[in-house]
Symmetry: D2
Subunit: 325 residues, 4 copies
């Protein structure tokens, strides 16, 4: 259709397409409002006509992000249709600045689709991060886990179908479905809050499963607002906060001015000194990580995986307990 | 341009046009996301394809509004460019669910444009509403008021220009500009919050000046989401809350069931009884108002007043203190 | 301890006590800020000294609520510690204006406590409300449902314990726990948003289980801010919205002025006429409900059920999978 | 009064006291909820009894802040009574996560109190920061500015008083009052958002006048939640973000591991190289600032300036236009 609204070809290319995530989930960009130019327009409170060079827009967007002038990026909005396991949904929903409409288990019949972690993702409790995982679990444990999960899900689905068959209220029939079950929602957020969401959810400390969603969403943001995305990578995602003590230490190791930065020969600040200045052992490790050369992550979407709404709807529909079709 | 996004011809018709409000203000719809169909799509968490009858969409939207299922209407978003006197801006900004970018007096030179109330709007302090106005002021008082305002604004503008001429920081030069001065902003809100904003700001208790803005915005909403607008008029704008005591009284006057409503002959609940039941004199007056036949307000835009961005920008630009052009 | 802050004896009496809800849940008021007097103080932007009569505070609070001046009631804040089944938590978390800290299944071991609906609550799918329940289910269905639930929970808990025993990451071990499992959180909200939460969650359309929590919280609000609570009951909970069409009909049945309200003898507006004016059959039923004499609900807490934090903690602790104590 | 709520002696000492800011403004802490211990309690979702060592609480609070687990600090709430010039109020109100009740010029008579910048603060437009000030203005310009301001304020106040005397509606009488006029409000925010507010408003890029308010509020936070305050200073206020390019450069200048950090002898990254890597000239200057040893700011309150509510109320009251007392 014809519109006078700002339109972005790279976003239009994927609009309404469904990108698979995990074994039965997906993310689809279903609508967007504005782009990098609209961030600038809002920041300048400028009239609609007239054009600016991309280099000027880029410079302004980077300036805004560095200096925490975040309100102009609220002027861009993205809307998604997503399906994810409930334990992922429960983490995701904590981001309160979104608009959300989730399928209601009180009203709708739920498709019997469950998440099964892959072999590589089936890991042990992390020793360094109390809420993470690391290392591989023995293959026989994985095998047994999968068997147990399948049994549980079979029984849970059977009970759900049986209760529905007895005409028990849906809001009760669903209470013993497991957290691994998929749910879905429409989810809308402005660009400022979305980049904050991504910062937290592509982070290695986030659970691996929700990170897979964040990667796909990052790829969509890259298409809607590429300059904002680039500034986010450079200043947030690959940025690190030097604390007061970190800066104290670094100021003794390097000197900087308009001519550049150089090392102060022979300067050392040892772990003992860092501890005395207030850093914990964990913070010393964190400091080392900050001073390592950054990664160059790329969240480019793989267009070959894109599916149609019809295909995705069909899978969902066929998983609804059969006696009710 | 071509887009796959939901597009609404009635909204496209006014997109980017500027509607004058008060003597130097304006409202322009600069972007929108979604429409009534997207409210329904979110409520049903449905896939993008397939169509529904307008009557079904209308029924659902009215059901959602009656039963306070407000989240689906958050899925529609409108963006405006507005100019208003600062005392209006200060009322407007209290709606915290908006995204706002306002011209900064620290950074920009402010146009010397001020609001002068018209003769009809120059009224006395209300006796019934401690924060309102009513009745006409004597013409000679209006005449003197206008003279005083003109003098004040002249001096205030001269001081501003003089301070800028002396290269005093803009953030200081502007501190004695009056609240009648115009400012402008980009302002974005979702439909749910926008309808709540309108409920409060078209209300007769809101200051007359901000109501003029609300009227124009209501006309824009009517174009973007006509079914949601209609439901808002029927259930919110022209709806009234019967309190517990009101219901107690009414239940003695009328009977209702599936066959309709009818008066109970001879039934009366007098003011004394209403007072005894807890209503103040003011609440009895309010009850009478609730039981009066409602108005049929119409916020249709007058397209003949629509101006271009260029015209509006020119007026603003020419009002910036002259030595700096 | 001694404090100069506003202090409310009726709230202090229950502070830190735990009120049971459902079979293993609870709500505890753990902190509060302000009371009715602070709503008034904020509305008047008054200095801290000086006192007002209760009748004046009551009148102001009722005025504010009737006229949607809701910001002063944001000045009172309540903090709760709650435990509830996850399907209840998922409804509850949709109220985005709260601050929440929930037990993390990535970090903590979850107590194996599950919600079992009582016989009276085990009902069939409602015919009138697509997301509700009504009528009783056959006793033998209830019996089988309980058996199935017990079996599922036993297996689910065993699998959880087995995975933990194999040192599988907690964030994975928990993914097949059912939605009937209890979780807990700290939850803080201001009075304005809390009363809105209660309006939606004591409503008969809310799921019965979350309503039990709303009832207890309402009883706590009654102790912290009794005048605000009373105004909420009179204007919100027992208030009903007359729509535009409702008002049109009623204006033909009753007349009202400062002297009171009286029925217009013989006046009738039949169902046909209401339909012609735009009401659906469902809306006509709703209108009849609005015109019925209101209830006088009471959310008084039963102090005899109050438990100590120690007792509640003990139950939770003992339900954590045993091998890890 | 007696309370079972968490009570903080250092906060009680200043509760309800008024701290002067600028020439006629003030900040008073009028209520608080919780402290550092309550941040920990929420993070652990722990029961109310039992105590933890200060060092454990400190460690957890610092961990939470470093890793952006910000929700537990939402569990602490502070409420203030403040008076500030309207141009400051307009900056302040942009922080939308606050609850605010401001004196209404529609309802109340406004005290004729205006802000006059001191000689030292009367500066020229900054060359390096387009929205700042720097350097001193000539004394004769300051002298004339003060004379002009006094004349404007006299006339503006006279017009206001005259309009009120003619019984013109207050909402109109006030429209030509200047932005330098003082207003006041009750303002409440949780600790998480308050620390974010402080980060932006003690920043040298914020206007000097609002910074004075931020300094006093920081001193109050230090009394309510000293460990959270300390973590904020170390990780936010005196922290700096190393961007992706910064980290690339630094990784070539220093090496770090668990044993500490040391300079790589002779390593240099010149301005040319930094530019080639994408840094603007401004960013190179910013990098140099980040690598400088941090300040040790201190926002300790000066208790000797604390006034009573009565004293402050008297000044305000006496400034209301005289004929209306």
């Amino acid at each position: 259709m014809e519109t006078k609204r700002p339109t972005i070809p790279a976003a239009e290319e994927i609009l309404g397409g469904y990108f698979p995530v995990l074994d039965h989930g997906f993310v689809s960009l279903v609508d967007y409002m504005g782009s990098d130019e609209d961030v600038e327009r809002a920041a300048r409170v400028s009239y609609g006509y007239g054009t600016r060079k991309v280099s000027q827009t880029r410079g302004l967007i980077r300036y805004l992000r560095r200096h925490r002038h975040t309100t102009p990026s609220e002027m861009v909005e993205l809307k998604f249709h997503c399906a994810m396991p409930m334990f992922v949904a429960r983490q995701w929903i904590r981001h309160r600045t979104a608009s959300v409409n989730e399928t209601s288990g009180r009203y709708s019949l739920m498709p019997l689709l469950f998440y099964t972690p892959g072999k590589d993702q089936f890991q042990l409790q992390s020793r360094s991060n109390n809420q993470g995982r690391e290392g591989g679990a023995p293959p026989e444990v994985y095998k047994e886990a999968v068997e147990r999960w399948e049994r549980l899900r079979k029984e849970s689905g059977d009970t759900y179908a049986w209760l529905l068959g007895e005409d028990v209220a849906r809001e009760l029939a669903r209470i013993d479905l497991p957290l691994s079950m998929y749910t879905q929602w429409y989810w809308k957020m402005d660009l400022h809050n979305l980049l904050h969401f991504l910062s937290l959810r592509v982070d290695p400390r986030a659970q691996w499963e929700i990170r897979q969603y964040a990667h796909v969403i990052a790829g969509m943001v890259k298409r809607v607002a590429p300059l904002s995305y680039e500034a986010w990578v450079d200043y947030d995602l690959e940025g690190r906060v030097l604390t007061r003590v970190d800066r104290d230490a670094l100021s003794r190791l390097v000197a900087a001015d308009e001519a550049g930065v150089h090392a102060r020969d022979g300067a050392v600040v040892g772990a003992q000194e860092l501890k005395a200045a207030g850093l914990s052992a964990r913070e010393i490790t964190e400091l080392a990580e900050k001073l390592r050369a950054p990664d160059h992550p790329d969240f480019e979407l793989d267009l070959s995986t894109m599916k149609t709404a019809e295909d995705v709807a069909k899978e969902m529909y066929e998983a609804v307990p059969g006696t009710f079709e």
